[in-house]
């Protein structure tokens, strides 16, 4: 019987999506445009997970949201804050370190 990997993938993606959003929001963007851009890069996400994440990041002051009501339909634009950039660089450092550890371990396992 094939194992359903979706719960493991969701768990793994939770942290990764956070970093992706902080990288993506270097420029002003709204939710749907973010989803589209991520899809173009080959990253598919459940859309209903993006907005709760944006809300959490906004609450923690890592991103800033602002409604644009100049068009027919209001859109909420988000952009990274100074605190967000600090956190992003630390998270990226952790991510690179984790990658290195994983690569080393994989190499060692293959040599055994």
């Amino acid at each position: 019987m094939a194992i359903d990997i979706s719960p493991f993938a969701t768990e793994m993606n939770r942290g990764f999506l956070q970093v992706l959003v902080l990288v993506l929001l270097e420029k002003n963007m709204y939710g749907y445009a973010m989803v589209k851009q991520l899809e173009e890069k080959g990253y598919t996400l459940e859309e209903n997970t993006l907005y709760p994440l944006l809300r959490r990041l906004e609450k923690k002051g890592l991103i800033k949201g602002k409604w644009d009501v100049s068009k027919d339909r209001p859109r909420k634009f988000y952009v990274i804050t100074k605190d967000g950039r600090t956190v992003r660089s630390q998270l990226l450092a952790i991510w690179r370190q984790q990658n290195d550890i994983l690569n080393h371990l994989m190499e060692e396992t293959q040599n055994v």
Binding site: Y30, G31, Y32, V35, K36, E46, E47, N48, T49, Y51, P52, L54, R55, R56, W67, R73, P74, R75, K76
Partner: protein, 315 residues
């Protein structure tokens, strides 16, 4: 706005009842669904909106994503919910028994009020106080959780090393319950001998008042004594043998007694009409007891069946 979208957002709003930012959340979801519908279909109609809503997820699922980090009671405090409730209930229960024996009402500030009541009102009061105590502890733990402080809740540490408890102590721990059971049973036999019943309307031993008619008193009291007697004998036999047959025989005999009680009902066993039809309550109680014994009986049968299978497979 589309009727379907409105219904969908209303449902999400209902699930988000506890969230302070629900208007903002709903506005975000609405904006996204409209945007996606227009970009993917070129127009916003009931049909196109319906397709996008279906992809976005069920209202409950969507609302839960916003509440991921919201906890009513923190996992670290959940263990205390039942512990504290047990302690509180024990206090509440004892005070209720005291109030019942002395026929008084009691007010223990700031939380407890125990009214003056008789035995049968008390039977319904006990489950109620348990729920009350559980709720009270739940509210306190809720506020502790919401404070987000590192509170260490008090609980006595019992440093018992169960592995070091010797077999002789285990034997002692079996003898003590047996002695207590025999004492309790003797007390019941004495009460029956003295008052001709085990079912009282009031606990006051100066002016006892039986709940049942003399015939019903004799019938049900002897049945209760027989049920308990069989249980105690089976418990005592386990000192000599650990055979599962003892349990099987015990449950079988108890079921026979209950079967006799159920099959020979006494018309109007109660001396007077109290609050409501107690016959129904009595029948429900007997049925619950019979079900529990029947489960025990089946458990013993399964264990014996397994043992016999093991013997055949690995002789």
């Amino acid at each position: 706005m589309s009727e379907k979208l409105e219904t969908y957002l209303d449902e999400i709003r209902d699930y988000l009842a506890s969230s302070k930012e629900k208007q903002e959340i709903i506005a975000e979801i609405k904006s996204h669904i409209m945007e996606k519908t227009e970009q993917e279909f070129g127009e916003i109609t009931e049909g196109t909106l319906e397709q996008i809503i279906a992809i976005y997820g069920s209202p409950r699922q969507v609302a839960e994503k916003y509440m991921d980090d919201y906890q009513i009671i923190a996992p670290t405090f959940k263990g205390y919910l039942l512990r504290y409730t047990a302690v509180l209930f024990a206090v509440h229960f004892t005070l209720t028994i005291v109030a019942l024996i002395f026929k008084i009402r009691m007010l223990v500030l700031p939380f407890f009020y125990i009214p003056k009541m008789d035995n049968f009102q008390a039977l319904f009061y006990f489950p109620m106080i348990f729920i009350y105590d559980l709720g009270l502890v739940g509210i306190i733990l809720y506020y502790v959780t919401q404070s987000r402080k590192d509170v260490r809740l008090p609980w006595p540490k019992l440093k018992l090393n169960w592995q070091k408890i010797s077999k002789s102590r285990q034997a002692k721990s079996k003898i003590i319950p047996l002695i207590l059971m025999l004492m309790g049973y003797s007390a019941l036999v004495w009460i029956y001998w003295r008052f001709d019943t085990l079912f009282f309307k009031t606990i006051d031993f100066q002016k006892t008042q039986s709940l049942l008619t003399p015939v019903a008193s004799q019938w049900y009291s002897l049945a209760l004594l027989a049920l308990l007697g069989i249980g105690i004998i089976a418990y005592a036999i386990k000192f000599i043998t650990t055979s599962e047959w003892v349990n099987l025989l015990r449950s079988a005999l108890q079921l026979v007694i209950l079967g006799i009680v159920i099959n020979r009902p006494i018309d109007n066993p109660f001396l007077e009409f109290i609050y409501f039809d107690l016959q129904i309550t009595a029948n429900i109680t007997i049925t619950i007891i019979a079900t529990l014994i029947a489960i025990d009986f089946l458990k013993s049968l399964i264990i014996l069946g397994k043992k016999s299978l093991m013997k055949k497979t690995f002789p």
